[in-house]
Amino acid sequence: MSMKRNLKRIAQVGIAAGAITYSGLVSAADTIKVGVLHSLSGTMAISESTLKDTVLMMIEQQNEKGGVMGKKLEPVVVDPASDWPLFAEKARQLLTQDKVDVIFGCWTSVSRKSVLPVVEELNGLLFYPVQYEGEESSKNVFYTGAAPNQQAIPAVDYLINDLGVKRFVLAGTDYVYPRTTNKILEAYLKSKGIADDDIMINYTPFGHSDWQSIVSRIKEFGSEGKKTAVVSTINGDANVPFYKELGNQGIDAADIPVVAFSVGEQELSGIDTGPLVGHLAAWNYFESVYTPENNKFIDQWHDYIGDDSRVTNDPMEATYIGFNMWVKAVEKAKSTDTDKVAKAMIGVETPNLTGGTAVMNKNHHLSKPVLIGEIQDDGQFAVVWQTDGLVAGDAWSDYLPDSKNLIADWTAPINCGNYNTKTKTCGGQTAQ
């Protein structure tokens, strides 16, 4: 890492720690401002700080190419410090004081829900790069991570069809994303003829570290003769002790595979993956995918961050896709005005890092391929299955009674985030 970049990084973090906005050196008149709303301190810093670096890298590259519409991009980085109400305040600050044209940010669903009313009120533009529980579509938000039908449902299909799994443990952290995902999965599994007795649902608190009894119960549940798998929506830090306990209690992936929706390369970089070989994860991107685009992206990332051991992951790809789509949309609309860009966004296509192209749909969700990978001993995933084509993100799940008639369509004449196809009415401007 060069000295200059080192100093720059220290300055960034230091200033961000004080939660003070800093602006670049470029004067404001001839620039397009890009807000970055990711936690740089607190619990979520582990995941979100990487995305801040990704956005800054994309901005640097875009500026080297001459910016957008001849204007340089100017990042405005704020630190919402893993504090959900602070996300709303910082979003307001970005939109009213810094007057940014677009915001890339949020990780947890609760932070997105906190920002949502602000971007809708001030008519801002938010790109949300993380897989989430769905059941939402806002005029002002573009969801570039996976909806449940782009991650959870294909993963369960793989377990049933390819691995012959007949019993399921749905294990998750106790908050909105796992609860909603598990509700969808439970309904889906029952529609596939899985009995109630063959589904075990378990929730644990955030940062749970003592997994002994739960892992032991999973082991028991899995030794009843039917092939069993664990579908894990366990979030963040709690995964490391969970996988350590699996390894120690000798649960082999060949006996009881665990398929995780929140475990990527970055989460695995904190553990010895030797005992975990064969456990699964479902994402739209894996670092190990061999394509020219991906190899180039990884090289650029290593170069930017100055550390060859830093991994890339799915939310980074989602950020990459979102950023490139936004650039294309601005150029198409010849304006940074929210309404014009939002309109131009629909139908925009940009290359995926895993090959093929991602498409932005009318419901502000992407069409992307779904990949399933097995953990390898080097902390990477090997792709063992992938969808034949693209899967369109579904904002409202078809498997929940409350949302099966709802669709989102932000084009005329519907122009609604929760349009009921039965009653032909729009439930309202905002989600839910």
Partner: protein
């Protein structure tokens, strides 16, 4: 190279003597063309094609067959893109050092992206392991033979069963024979063609086993059979197995409770000194634990080859680092605030935030990976339903050792005497010539240092990251307050009591509710006995 040609001998129906080597003068001559074809098939993306290739390699009898399968498991069989061939690859200097898979001839070095390991999935991995287990049935080591036989328990594959039967005829070790018998009896019960008499004998023979496969086959027999005698026998055996398993389950829960208790004890014991004995509400206690965990990480970075023993260096190092930081906190912040608990609370909370962010700046916000030494991995397998994980087992003993050491220091040393004197009555202690300032700093250092040692142990169980401390600060205060401020034995009792209680509630109520119930219980308890389980007289007690 291990046990060359054993697979071959097995397939030919002749069991080899362990360690047998058939010297082959010319590897090319014994190389059937099928192996190279099978290797080429491994380039396929279709796992079924790869599965057949693995089968072909295993049956080929090629002298490299076993090594090739092992290489496939170890991800050392790679696809060399430039030449579009499958070769052996060893990671070296940021690239791959390639060798010919059949002759062992070096093929030079290529770039990291020029070769990719052959991808196998769980099913293939299991298939390879089973094939290896068949070979291992003739291993010289009886433990390896037993493990191999246990791996094959539940299999219905005819070739594997044949291998088991052949081994059974030769085996003299009773442990290995037991495992083989179980495997064969299960296969017999699964076989629809077997007659009632042999099935009854088989049920009788497996009734004492706790293997899950036994339970499954018995349950299937109990529901599927038409013969009443068989159904009764199966049900009776199932009942006996369930009763035994239930006893072990209770033992399991107690072990989990003791383990959780030992973690609580480790986290709380340093606080028992700083808060319990000195009366300082130290909100930065968790961060001192975190510093200990990071010290473990740094020590492992300094000795990259010493994963097996570097923990022994990490323990004193973590003690020193945390103790020094603790003394600095005491000298710079806390000593001005004695007797003002609210201000201490706020000031130390600030210190905890500073320490967290400092760690984020130095080590980045990402979690650091602490390697678990081999002797702490895995589990002590007592029987198929009861095992004790080594890391937890060691940590229970470690927590007790730390506790006893601390107790000795406080009861038997001069520093301990002075600490107790100052904590009981500062003014009299000073009048007796004790330098209370120095004692305060050392005591706080001792408590902090022990927090650092706790960090070494916790680094083996959980994430080493900036938030490590936050997760334990509440639990630590909970244990110390519940046990009785100022009483080390109270801390011990409280830690293990809460640990075991938590683990008994958890299966009934779930992890979230179990935690809430324990907290509610403590609130109610403190209402009735505000000074905890074992109240102690001392400075802390008098101040409150």
């Amino acid at each position: 190279m291990r046990r060359v040609l054993l697979i071959v001998l097995l397939w030919l129906g002749a069991t080899g003597v362990a360690g047998a080597q058939t010297p082959t003068d010319d590897p090319v001559a014994t190389d059937p063309p099928s192996v190279s074809d099978a290797l080429a098939d491994l380039k396929s993306r279709d796992f079924d094609v790869k599965g057949r290739a693995i089968e072909t390699i295993a049956r080929s009898g090629h002298e490299q067959a076993e090594a090739l399968l092992q290489a496939l498991l170890d991800r050392k069989l790679v696809h060399d893109r430039a030449h579009d061939r499958i070769v052996l690859g060893e990671q070296a200097d940021g690239g791959w050092a390639l060798t010919d898979p059949l002759t062992g001839e070096s093929l030079g070095q290529v770039d990291a992206r020029a070769a990719r390991p052959v991808i196998i999935n769980n099913r293939l991995r299991e298939r390879i392991r089973n094939l290896q287990a068949v070979a291992a049935l003739s291993n010289a080591n009886p433990l390896a033979r037993r493990e191999a036989a246990q791996r094959l328990v539940g299999t219905t594959d005819p070739t594997m069963l044949r291998a088991l039967r052949e081994r059974q005829a030769e085996e003299s070790n009773p442990l290995v024979n037991g495992a083989i018998d179980t495997a064969l009896n299960i296969a017999l019960l699964r076989d629809p063609g077997s007659d009632l008499h042999t099935r009854l004998a088989a049920i009788d023979a497996v009734a004492g086993s706790l293997e899950p496969a036994v339970k499954n086959v018995l349950r299937d027999r109990a529901t599927q059979t038409d013969a009443a005698a068989e159904r009764n026998a199966a049900e009776k055996a199932l009942k006996a197995i369930d009763a035994r398993a239930a006893r072990y389950e209770t033992a399991d829960t107690i072990f989990f409770g003791l383990s959780l208790g030992s973690v609580l004890l480790l986290a709380a014991i340093g606080l028992a000194i700083t808060f319990g004995v000195m009366g300082v509400i130290n909100m930065a206690h968790g961060e001192l634990i975190m510093l200990g965990a990071y010290t473990t990480y740094v020590v492992q970075q300094v000795f990259p080859q010493g994963h097996e023993w570097s923990l022994l260096i990490a323990i004193p190092a973590a003690f020193l680092v945390s103790a020094l930081v603790g003394i600095v906190i005491e000298r710079c912040v806390i000593r001005f605030l004695y007797g003002r608990p609210l201000e201490t609370l706020l000031a130390t909370f600030g210190v905890s935030l500073i320490l967290q962010q400092a760690v984020r700046l130095i080590f980045s916000p990402l979690n650091r990976s602490v390697v678990t030494p081999d002797w702490m991995s895995g589990a002590l397998q007592i029987n198929p339903v009861f095992s004790l994980t080594y890391n937890r087992l060691y940590i229970i003993f470690f927590a007790l050792a730390v506790f006893l050491t601390l107790l000795t220091v406080l009861k038997k040393t001069r520093l301990g005497l002075q600490v107790r004197a100052v904590s009981q009555n500062r003014i009299t202690a000073r009048a007796m010539g004790i330098r209370s300032e120095r004692v305060n700093a050392l005591t706080f250092g001792l408590g902090s240092g022990i927090a650092g040692i706790a960090g070494v142990a916790l680094a083996q169980l959980t994430n080493v990251g900036p938030n490590l401390g936050q997760a334990y600060i509440i639990d630590s205060f909970m244990v110390v307050v519940f046990g009785g401020v100022g009483n080390l034995w109270g801390t011990l009792t409280a830690a293990f009591g809460l640990g075991i209680a938590n683990k008994f509630i958890e299966p009934l109520a779930g992890a979230v509710l179990a935690k809430i119930m324990v907290l509610v219980f403590i609130i109610l308890f403190i209402q009735r006995k505000p000074r905890g389980l074992f109240p102690q007289r001392g400075r802390a007690a008098e101040d409150s």
